[in-house]
Amino acid sequence: MAIHNRLSVFRADHAMSRKDLAERVGVNPQTIGYLERGDYAPSVELALKLAAVFDAPVEALFSLQPFAPLAHSLKNGG
């Protein structure tokens, strides 16, 4: 089953490069690219580390269901 994520949105919001984020969670920068494209589903440990970097709950970053478009979320008050 595909795991959807908003990693690139959070990363852009925090003005972080893939390299910066990779260093924070201890992975190869290419792995961040794989995660963002949905080509790789992270382990629970990595998902929690990523959520901790953005100080967000893990379900804000990853979901089994596709995330609603950002504009839609903003329109409905987040």
């Binding site: 490069s17 992975v27 190869n28 290419q30 792995t31 794989y34 080509d39 382990s43």
Partner: protein, 165 residues
């Protein structure tokens, strides 16, 4: 075998497409060079074939040197604790497939040798088998190259590498 340079401690980044081209070149140049050099079926073209064969083998070794310093070869050869979880999972999958392919090839080669030897001994057919030291060197050299590059070759046929920023 992975060659780590001071400039590229994680291996020279190569796209999967380039890696595939390198692997295909290696797997064509080396056997072709050996066939030209050893000419198992005929002694045609003599010295010219010898030189062409040596050049192709040298080109294959050059391709191997490039591959040996690549990020894919690093992923294939690096100890487990030096890889992240994605690299490690991909490598384990590649190791499984390359082991299966290599084992299958060795079994097929051994079966061929068994059949060829029987047929030659009984005089029913003439199939090529390695006879001289040069023949065996070529076969073993090919197996060594294959064994060292097959996991990276399997990785090269994986998903395209993510763009770097």
């Amino acid at each position: 075998m992975f060659y780590r340079s001071a400039r590229h401690p994680f291996g020279r980044a190569v796209s999967r497409r380039s890696a595939r081209a390198l692997v295909i070149a290696l797997y064509i140049l080396y056997p072709l060079g050996c066939v030209l050099r050893l000419r198992p079926f005929s002694d045609a073209f003599g010295g010219a074939a010898d030189i062409a064969g040596l050049l192709l083998i040298a080109a294959a070794l050059l391709v191997f040197a490039v591959l040996a310093g690549s990020s894919l070869q690093r992923q294939a050869q690096e100890p487990e604790d030096k890889l992240d979880e994605r690299e490690s999972a991909e490598r384990n999958r590649a190791a499984y497939w390359s082991y299966s392919a290599f084992a299958g090839l060795v079994v097929a080669g051994a079966t061929y040798m068994m059949i060829a030897t029987d047929l030659v001994e009984s005089g029913k057919a003439t199939l090529w088998t390695p006879q001289t030291g040069d023949h065996w060197n070529a076969v073993v050299g090919g197996l060594v190259l294959l064994g060292m590059t097959l996991p990276a070759a399997v990785l090269a046929w994986g998903k395209e590498t993510a763009d770097m920023e």
